[in-house]
Symmetry: C2
């Protein structure tokens, strides 16, 4: 039997070229949506409901849901809080569903819907995601949320970090240039990760908004053993 | 005055996100279209006419033009020859215009049309392209032709090689994650370039078609001092 493949899609705008209904899609938006989703579920939220539009987000709020929401890094004015993982405290989210709408990440979750499965990845749950995928033994597509359609470094090096684990011991194979590129980028970045973060465009955007207190948290590996898995348009926690 | 920027677009499908009318767009399709265009003009073709569709290519042939054309690596059956740079010999092209249609590269040339300018880059004319851009002192966008919309390594490392020259001496600045990624990839690839080529997906496609005799040629730097420049839908040679 051929080994399962790992491919990387660097932007949601390229997704149609990489789409295959047999893939498990791993959505990543390291700064900050997917890190926050993992944090919310790790802190006891029963589910995270990814919400595409601002209008839809408003409806969830009106129906009494806890709503996290931002556009371009700024909290939606009617939301309970914004996009920082520090917002999703146990006090706020434990035992409750959370509706969540962001510029890039929550939209990317829906792109993978016509695949075998969609899960959410971040550095904080990297090894849990790898374990999940190794159990499944299916083709993997890492979908980088990017920045408004553009390539971004933080999601790409996450893809490389995940690919590095999956190809170790020869469990997965690579025939994808983007995966090889992600591996190469990660091979550089991991040597001095927090320095590497400094050159990311998103790091600068967050700094200008005073939102760069999350960097250490977002680039610390394996603090969570939760894999958010999409079930009927909701992300539920699977512990690994 | 702020320094001119260098950005990199990894796929024509992302072009709209990077487009700016003030950019000079450098189109690259290293394996093999843009290497071939540089070769044709270096060997004395008066101009290369990039042709988008197979139908349009047929019309050029009917009107008596020399026609080079391929789809998915295979020569169009009515073309004079295919996409290998070795086809564009002085005997065939000197003093003549050449019409040229390929899977990825020639289409990408037209994408940049609404910019300040479009030029064609390859490893064989890398330094000539850099000299051209340093004289212009305008923002640069390297547009990677990719493979059917997907990211490809060979075009990305070319972008990195070009960026490396342009940022040396501080003439150009980078605020683009894709440019930083391209630089990192090139920093790895240049250490052992012909080995690095072995992992490219396009290298394997060419091998299967028996068309991989061009690799040494396509990854040899600075054998040409010609920069193809788009003027009224035709690429003309500028010597630098």
């Amino acid at each position: 039997m051929p080994k399962p493949q790992i491919e990387v899609c660097f932007s949601p705008l390229l997704y149609e070229k990489y789409h295959n209904e047999h893939n498990i899609v791993v959505v990543c938006d390291i700064l900050r949506a997917t890190t926050s989703i993992c944090t919310a579920l790790g802190n006891g939220a029963t589910e995270v409901i990814p919400v595409r539009s601002v209008e839809e987000a408003r409806k969830y709020k009106e129906r009494g849901y806890i709503l996290a929401g931002e556009r371009d890094g700024k909290t939606l004015d009617f939301a309970d809080f914004g996009n920082s993982p520090f917002n999703f405290t146990p006090e706020r989210v434990k035992g409750k569903p959370v509706a969540y709408s962001t510029t890039n990440g929550t939209k990317a979750v829906f792109l993978g819907k016509d695949s075998r499965g969609v899960i959410v990845g971040a550095f904080i749950n990297l090894m849990a995601v790898a374990r999940y995928l190794m159990r499944q033994q299916q083709n993997v597509l890492v979908l980088c949320a990017g920045w408004k359609g553009k390539f971004c470094l933080e999601d790409s090096i996450f893809a490389g970090a995940l690919a590095e684990i999956l190809i170790k011991d020869g469990a997965f194979a690579i025939e994808c240039d983007a995966t090889n590129a992600a591996l190469d980028l990660w091979s550089i970045a991991k040597q001095y990760l927090m320095e590497y973060v400094q050159k990311m465009a998103q790091r600068e955007r967050l700094r200008k908004l005073g939102l760069d207190d999350v960097l250490d948290f977002c680039f610390t590996l394996n603090t969570s053993d939760i894999v958010p898995v999409l079930k009927e348009d909701r992300l539920i926690p699977v512990k690994l």
